[in-house]
Amino acid sequence: MTQLWPRLGPAAARTIYFGLRRRTITELAGEARPTHDRVTYAATGGSRVAPTEIAALTDDLRRAATEFGYPVPAEDAERIAFDRAAAEILYARMDLTTVEAAHNGIWNFLALVAAPDLVLWRWTGSTNVERWICTDRTRHMFARLWWQALTFDTPTGDGRPDHSLLRSLSESDLNQITERRSIAGNPRLAQAVARLLATAPAETRRRDLLRTITPRLRRRLAFVDFSVLTDEQLDDHLRVLAQAPDDHATVTPAWHHPIAQTFE
């Protein structure tokens, strides 16, 4: 049965967010709770998730975080490793339709009410409010992880999720793929890009490879329907795209005239 998760609207989220500032991880952990009086739910379409299920999710997330140093501030590598583990936990424990998962309110609730301590720990030093209040699901603490798991999930023969492709991607890879909706919106295309990165020669810089193929791919998307291609066709197409000379290159020459200096 599809779950309906509590939603916290942007106004309530903003109010809570201002109240959470300057708290410590320990304080936020003590205030975290699985319900709030300002939440709403979708009117129909599933069953409301119970507070015990929400607590079970956040318990799992904290247990995973502990393996990477929580609540003590951790290095980037540990926090990114937590992301991968947390993505799998969120995807497994939250039975969401994509319409529900596209609703910013459920992510606001998780970040600001159910597990604010984890957000503060994961994003120690960040002042980006988008980690807490969801306006862009590729940036929010929990939304981006659930959507990453959805995008790169390659179900096994018996239907179980396989997140090995997601685990193979670096933070930079993920940012470059998932922040382009025209690519991430087609999970099979996003997975093909991930496979291309995974199989690139060792001497290839993945960031450069992505920077090469992404604009080319976006141009092709205007007149090629990648959703009709098989995985093999997708892989072939991307390999060719990565190797081909830029067929629509727009050259912007540097302007070295001294007058340009007056603009700096």
């Binding site: 106004a11 979708a42 319409v99 529900e100 919106g185 205007a222 007149f223 009709v228 291609l229």
Partner: protein, 293 residues
């Protein structure tokens, strides 16, 4: 913007498609602009009839080498950008009926139903001007469909401006993002001051508004249009290549509808009163704000 592809495409009159219909109980009904009472448990069962003149399409698109071409009927969610798996069938001279199932767990608040004729395999010996890549779109059409909500709901919320950190003396505030590629429906929010009881009553009433309520709503409409158009003009050079359904795309479309020549208004030194007047006049011409007729 005219859709120009880097290869020959068939003439539109070689393709015939019906409107979409939906299976409701045991009857096929015309699919309207939205599906009433859709929720997360509603699996959409759609169908349409398609027909084309295969030989003429091949000739028209210069694809006389027998390359496989097919119909691709699919959808994408307009709020998440998520693509559904399309139904792909070979083209035929005989009329065909194609059924498309849209699972509720992967749908979106809004959908764009797509019908395309596509090349099915790469053509390694393609001549210049002919489709080369598998998936090349030779013909297409799109049908929007709203699943949740009715009509074009503008994201809005009545809030306590004082608690929200906004000036409690103003009636509304339009939150817009700094970047252009964010989804329109997730990144803008019209905040209405809950202390302005008259405005809250006016926007929540669905019909039979009083004259005062109509005037309040129209004034806010004009103000919102002005803010969106001004937001677009400041970023005009970034809006050529924005994601579909993004705030940038929506604002660009609005600005183009409201101002006959948006490029002419991007100069920061343009007279601000002239710009306001042009926006309000443009908004009224397309049906928003007051009508003096």
């Amino acid at each position: 913007m005219k859709d120009v592809r880097p290869f020959f495409v068939p003439r539109n009159d070689l393709v015939r498609v019906s409107t979409w219909s939906r299976l409701v109980e045991d009857d096929w009904e015309d699919l309207g602009a939205f599906v009433e009472n859709w929720d997360y448990r509603t699996r959409l069962h759609l169908r349409c009839h398609v027909a084309c003149d295969v030989a003429a399409i091949r000739t028209s698109a210069r694809l006389d080498d027998g390359s496989p071409i097919g119909w691709s009927l699919g959808w994408r969610a307009t709020d998440t950008g998520l693509l559904g798996d399309p139904v792909v069938v070979p083209v035929s001279d005989e009329p065909q009926t194609v059924v498309l199932d849209i699972p509720a767990d992967r749908a979106g608040a809004g959908l764009m139903l797509t019908r395309r004729i596509v090349l099915r395999r790469d053509r390694m010996s393609a001549t210049p001007g002919t489709a080369r890549w598998a998936g090349s779109i030779l013909w297409s059409d799109e049908t929007p469909l709203r699943l949740t909500g009715q009509g074009s709901a503008f994201p809005s919320e009545a809030v306590d401006f004082r608690a929200y950190g906004l000036d409690p003396a103003v009636s509304w505030y339009l939150e817009l993002p700094a970047t252009t590629d964010l989804p329109a429906m997730g990144s803008m929010l019209l905040l209405i001051n809950s202390a302005d009881a008259a405005l809250v009553a006016a926007v929540t009433r669905q019909r039979r508004h009083t004259e005062v309520q109509t005037a309040l709503v129209q004034a806010m409409e004009e103000g919102v249009v002005e803010q969106l158009v001004r937001w677009a003009l400041v970023r005009w050079d970034q809006l050529d290549d924005v994601e579909p359904d993004s705030i940038g795309a929506a604002a660009r479309t609005l600005a183009t509808r409201v101002l006959p020549d948006p490029d002419g208004w991007t100069d920061p030194h343009v007279d601000q009163m002239d710009l306001t007047a042009a926006i309000i006049a443009g908004a009224r011409r397309i049906g928003w704000g007051r009508s003096l007729a």
